[in-house]
Amino acid sequence: MASLDIQGVTKSFGATRVLHGIDLAIHDGEMVVIVGASGCGKSTLLRIVAGLETSTSGAVLIDKVDVTPLEPADRDIAMVFQTYALYPHMTVFDNMAYGLKIRRVPKPEIRRRVQEAADLLSIGQLLDRKPRQLSGGQRQRVAMGRAIVREPKLFLFDEPLSNLDAKLRVQMRAEIRSLQKRLAVTSLFVTHDQVEAMTLGDRLVVMNEGRAAQIGTPMEVWSRPADTYVASFIGSPAMNMLPATLAEGGAAARLADGTVWRFTDGARPGGEGRAVILGIRPEHLMPDAAGLAVTIDLAEPLGSETVVHGRLRDGTALTARLPGGIPQEPLILAPDLAALHVFDAADGKRLDPA
């Protein structure tokens, strides 16, 4: 078991900079999920931690030891690949045992460890099969097993669930989480799926264009997004963004149509007229006679609730999650002012009360 420290890691491919200095400290036994859209640099960061790629600058420390110059094999890590990378000509047993064989672990010890991991993952009856005889979920487990038998300091997961169908993905997600808790292995998990990130991580790193936009627990990230990118990336359907200006000396915001919403938690700095963006999650909009009139473009009934996609009078798109069935027009909606997010219109950063 170990801690992982990523210190000022940057990476450039030629003139293109894909990582702009990432700092991250992961405690012993913690599971951190790196989430972001494709091309944000999350896989590159993981591969730098694994040693499959070298960073342009910065250092990676495992258990306070600088492993930056070490080969992957010498870092005492295990990795689960998106494609699983199971060797097709080896049996499940041999796939799981391969890393141990290379490290010259005695045969009885190998057998014991593989058996234990197989039992843990309930793939004990599959040990003699070849990967192509397995289903997607079974392959996923073997890939996990291969990592577990190594008893490494660090688990790395590179989008391991993205090749599974939706139902299996939910199931494996839960299994990985409970397994990780049980084994208490420090883990770094990369995904583009925000639901996966929210459910799996002790903490999240939301990455955007080579930078860590926010690092925090899932609830922190959800309730206090650091900028508009994080705000719109986390949460489904995505947060509504309405342009506004500060009014009443910063204590309220005025929308384009003149509606004024007073902040419940205090005034924002910058004074009258500062351009801001108001973020409202779809679940924080409710029918209210004093609100904004919305024309409905599309209503998606989900049973207990309905997702309504509509437009304000000036054409701004607005999405709301309303309890019950399809609502009638005219629909007048108002936000829960306590759940209002305020961002600077220029740089997108969160604005907290002064």
Binding site: A50, G51, L52, E71, P72, A73, D74, I77, A78, M79, F81, Q82, T83, Y84, A85, Y87, P88, H89, M90, Y98, G99, I102, R103, R146
Partner: protein, 297 residues
């Protein structure tokens, strides 16, 4: 008013056409098979008669009774003709077998290694090496016979099995095939191997070789036949008849004057020469076709 369609007549015509077509197809294929098989049949039949029957020109179409004698004689003593002394077919078959095996195994071995180097490493002059191998495609032995022979003389490799096989084991085709195949090995396998702690040679042995098994088998069939069927090279390189290969040995049995040719033994030897490569093709047909279509395209 639409024209009435005589369904019955059309159906009958279609049936007739299909029948006719099927018969014609079979006839064409049987004709093809016969044209292909006729020379072999004549040879097989000839190998079961005595010299005089064939020499008289009473071309037999059915097997005779001399098979045992002919095959025993050719195997143990060989048929001489007038102008050369006899070499037993067993000796020539052994030589051909060794030559074909060495060429096939040698080509596969050095091509695997060089393709592995070119695909899985980055190093200075990588492309120069690759092109040097590629260019050998344009230098078949036939177009540079004499200078190659002179090189062999200066290396004292004439009349040696080394001389017979070593110059033929460089292979651009095999290297290109393996390179092509190695490029399809997913990057993740290499990464998984690195994390598992396998170095390049370990990865080669444990992952690349097993994955290449069918390609190696396919290529082996093609290259074994290539080696077995060598003609000009052994003709030049071998003067010592102990090293005679069966294809060259066979043609040497046919004298120019040909009145005294021991046709029965020549035909028997031809059957010997034919059998191993044909057996390889027929028994390993699937791999053979794979090897052929993948190396050459």
């Amino acid at each position: 008013m639409s024209a009435t369609i005589d369904v019955e007549a059309l159906a009958a015509a279609s049936r007739r056409r299909r029948m006719r077509e099927r018969v014609l197809t079979h006839l064409a294929l049987i004709l093809g098979v016969v044209v292909f098989a006729m020379p072999i049949w004549i040879t097989l039949v000839g190998s079961t008669h005595d010299t005089d029957t064939i020499g008289r020109g009473d071309v037999p179409l059915l097997p005779g009774s001399e098979a045992w004698n002919n095959y025993m004689h050719a195997w143990a003593q060989g048929g001489g003709g007038r102008n050369t002394f006899a070499v037993p077919a067993s000796t020539m078959l052994w030589n051909s077998f060794i030559m074909a095996m060495l060429i096939a195994v040698g080509k596969i071995a050095i091509s695997l290694l060089s393709a592995f180097a070119v695909v899985f490493f980055a190093f200075p002059l990588r492309m120069v090496f690759f092109w040097m191998i590629f260019i050998t495609l344009m230098l078949p032995v036939e177009v540079r016979i004499i200078p190659t022979f002179q090189v062999m003389t200066s290396l004292s490799l004439i009349d040696t099995m080394t001389g017979l096989t070593l110059p033929l084991i460089a292979s651009a085709t095999a290297t290109l095939l393996f390179r092509q195949f190695f490029l399809t090995i997913p990057d993740e396998y290499v990464e998984a191997a690195k994390i598992d702690g396998a170095g390049p040679l370990r990865f080669f042995k444990d992952v690349v070789l097993p994955l290449s098994a069918t390609n190696i088998a396919a290529l082996f069939v093609i290259l074994f036949i290539y080696g077995w069927n060598q003609y000009l090279w052994p003709l030049l390189m071998v003067t010592n008849r102990d090293l005679e290969t069966i294809i060259v040995g066979l043609t040497k049995m046919i004298g120019i004057g040909d009145a005294q040719n021991e046709w029965n033994l020549i035909m028997t030897t031809a059957v010997f020469a034919l059998l191993p490569p044909v057996a390889v093709v027929v028994l390993m047909q699937r791999w053979f076709i794979k090897g052929l279509t993948e190396t050459e395209k």
